[in-house]
């Protein structure tokens, strides 16, 4: 029996592209975890395993000259905005070939040419800048939108409120995408948020808001498209809350003592956005293997590319502080 087309649904072909991209992000981040545990990637790394549908659903709804600001959990956004996995992996290895030339690392991924205004190590750090970029688009009458990603924890910080207030006051073309994964590092939602429905934060500013299931890429894409159209059309900013799940610790190596032991296993069974999409697409084993082989090759290639990269020279750190 032919499947009934869902209203506003995206084509099967596009959904397959989403699947491929989400799987690429997943395999990329699993590789990052593996290389971290192998001792090749020092420092702090935050992966967004489980949140791929938000990155892909929102970024695929963008136009090329739209801009984003990301968070400390930035690999997915960065890949989805078009940065090549080689450049991203090289950045994690601190190489000159990296997207931030080896000076940013996981929490400061930049790709100015592709409209990535940067990841942010400080929670809420990117929101005011997105208001400014959007204000600039408005002043110049350019049909572009600026998008800020942030987590539920960021809605408690001052810059979130200042940014939403300014954005609505000036009716700038901005979309604020809250990746609501229910955790601020190791603090659960009920210990840090006085309300359940974060889309209500927008009410205080008279801002349009939507809340969608963030594990369904089709739903995210549809909601993001609508929010972007609203902003681009001059009707003002939108707060888009995507309820999602962090199917991993806060950072790579997090023992997660704060989380019930069986929770992750259960959520991985029921809330994996890639599995959900796979089921929706009715992919054959052959399809899955083909896509799997393709993304694994890209990821392996990115590690080779990164390892063969150029180490930055200490004296270069003294450059570019000033013009």
């Amino acid at each position: 029996m032919a499947q009934v087309e869902r209203k506003g649904a995206v084509s099967e072909e596009l959904l397959r592209e989403f699947y491929r991209e989400m799987l690429l992000i997943r395999r990329f981040e699993e590789k990052v975890e593996e290389r971290f545990r192998a001792g090749e990637l020092p420092g702090f790394l935050h992966v967004a395993i489980g949140q791929e549908a938000v990155a892909v659903g929102v970024c695929r709804a963008l136009q090329d000259d739209d801009v984003i600001a990301s968070t400390h959990r930035a690999h997915g956004h960065t890949l989805a905005k078009g940065t090549h996995p080689n450049e991203l992996m090289a950045e994690l290895y601190g190489k000159v070939e990296g997207c931030s030339k080896g000076y940013g690392g996981s929490m400061h991924l930049y790709d100015v040419e592709r409209g990535n205004l940067g990841a942010n190590a400080v929670v809420g750090g990117g929101l005011p800048g997105i208001v400014g970029a959007a204000l600039a688009f408005k002043f110049r009458d350019e049909p572009r939108v600026a998008v800020a990603f942030f987590g539920d924890g960021a809605t408690n910080i001052g810059t979130f409120h200042e940014a939403l207030n300014l954005a609505q006051l000036w009716l700038v073309p901005a979309v604020f995408v809250c990746e609501n994964n229910g955790w601020a590092e190791s603090t659960p939602a009920h210990q840090q948020l006085p309300i359940d429905d974060l889309s209500k934060r927008a009410e205080a500013y008279g801002m349009k808001a939507r809340r969608v299931g963030g594990q369904d890429v089709e739903e995210v894409f549809a909601a993001a498209s609508e929010a972007l159209e609203h902003a681009r059309g001059g009707d003002g900013p939108v707060l888009l809350v995507c309820d999602t799940f962090r199917l991993t610790g806060h950072y790579v190596g997090d023992p997660q003592v704060y989380r019930p032991r069986d929770e992750l296993a259960r959520l991985r069974e029921t809330e994996d956005p890639i599995e959900k999409l796979s089921a929706r697409l009715d992919l054959t084993d052959e399809d899955v293997q083909e896509i799997e082989a393709e993304v694994v090759e890209i990821v392996e290639g990115s590690v080779e590319f990164a390892k063969a990269g150029t180490d930055p020279q200490p004296e270069d750190a003294l450059k570019n502080v000033y013009a």
């Binding site: 801009v67 931030s100 030339k101 000076y103 940013g104 400061h108 930049y110 100015v112 205004l117 940067g118 942010n120 190590a121 400080v122 750090g125 929101l127 005011p128 800048g129 997105i130 208001v131 400014g132 970029a133 959007a134 204000l135 600039a136 688009f137 002043f139 110049r140 600026a146 001052g158 810059t159 200042e162 940014a163 207030n165 300014l166 006051l169 450059k319 570019n320 502080v321 000033y322 013009a323």
Partner: protein
């Protein structure tokens, strides 16, 4: 040349720079309709429109953060923060973004932001309206800092800051906004960043100061008149510092007193003293002395005169040093 007050000179700079370059814009609380609490931005909104002179809510992190985004999109925003201490909520954006973007992106992003604020005491204002927070800014990599002491420099340094490709913080001595008048060149007037000014030539002792302390040390120099030939060096740009001018004056006089209004510990005077210790030790005839504020919050008006460096304290330090 027109004779203007210090704040009129700033206003004249804005009218010229906004006319000269249409990517220059001003933003801050009350800068538009009200023309700024001190009238520094008077007339800009009427002349250039609300998109070039943007009234904002009182939200300093939001103001500077918005400027970050505007900058990325090709504007040259000039942010007014109403008072010295009101800049602290914006320090987050300044330290985490403004000073770092060029470095992080390896020159991929220009950051021509100007941040200006009235600073300093002596106006009988309550706490948090009289701070001298320049050191926080000087200490932040990627940020330049200028402090004018005359109407002419107020216009010229602000013009240089606006045209500079890097973030520049300009502190304006609010004590002298209206109490100081001086000749100010009309039209184009730029005082390059990184150039100190010898405000007075002398051979026995150098008094080093900036901003509101410059007129004070000039009075101290007058008071010392008969006893010593005093040179006054107005630093003008704290970062980048005109080190050559500092060392040249120290080489000439061999005695240096540095005066700052800010609290003492790790203040800008300490940096100047360290540079002199490293590079001018053989030229010095005595220790480098500092006359500074105290390591306390700026006190309320009944006792603020006791906090502020005075002519007497500067003269005392100078006399002590002249005895070496």
């Amino acid at each position: 040349m027109a004779e203007l007050t210090l704040v009129e000179a700033i206003n004249s700079c804005f009218h010229h720079e906004l006319q000269r370059d249409d990517s220059v814009m001003v933003m801050g609380e009350d800068v538009g309709r009200a023309g700024g609490v001190f009238r520094a931005t008077a007339g800009l909104r009427d002349r250039f429109g609300p998109d070039r002179c943007v009234d904002t809510p009182l939200a300093e992190a939001g103001i500077l953060g918005t400027a970050v985004g505007l900058c990325m999109a090709g504007w040259r925003p000039v942010c007014e923060l109403q008072y010295d201490a009101f800049s602290y909520p914006a320090l987050d954006q300044l330290i985490t973004h403004v000073g770092r973007y060029r470095w992080r992106t390896r020159g991929g992003m220009e950051f021509p932001i100007t941040i200006r604020m009235p600073y300093g005491g002596g106006v009988r204002a309550p706490e948090l309206h009289d701070d001298s927070p320049e050191t926080y800014y000087v200490h932040t990599p990627g940020v330049k800092v200028a402090i004018p002491s005359t109407p002419s420099d107020a216009k010229g340094l602000l013009a240089a800051a606006i045209r500079d490709p890097d973030p520049v913080v300009v502190f304006e001595p609010k004590l002298h906004y209206r109490t100081m008048r001086g000749e100010v060149p009309e039209g184009d007037h730029v005082v390059p960043l990184g150039k100190a000014r010898v405000a007075r030539m002398g051979s026995d002792l150098t008094l080093v100061a900036y901003g509101s302390m410059v007129p004070l040390v000039e009075r101290a120099a007058d008071a010392l008149g008969g006893d010593a030939s005093v040179e006054v060096l107005d630093v003008r740009t704290l970062k980048p510092l005109d080190e050559q001018a500092l060392l040249a004056s120290a080489a000439k006089t061999g005695r240096v007193v540095i005066v700052q209004e800010a609290p003492r510990t790790c203040g800008y005077a300490a940096e100047l003293a360290a540079i002199l210790a490293e590079k001018a030790i053989l030229d010095l005839r005595g220790p480098v002395l500092r006359v500074t504020g105290y390591d306390v919050p700026y006190p309320y008006w009944q006792i603020e005169d006791a906090y502020m460096p005075s002519v007497e304290r500067v003269v005392d330090a100078a006399r002590k040093l002249l005895q070496y």
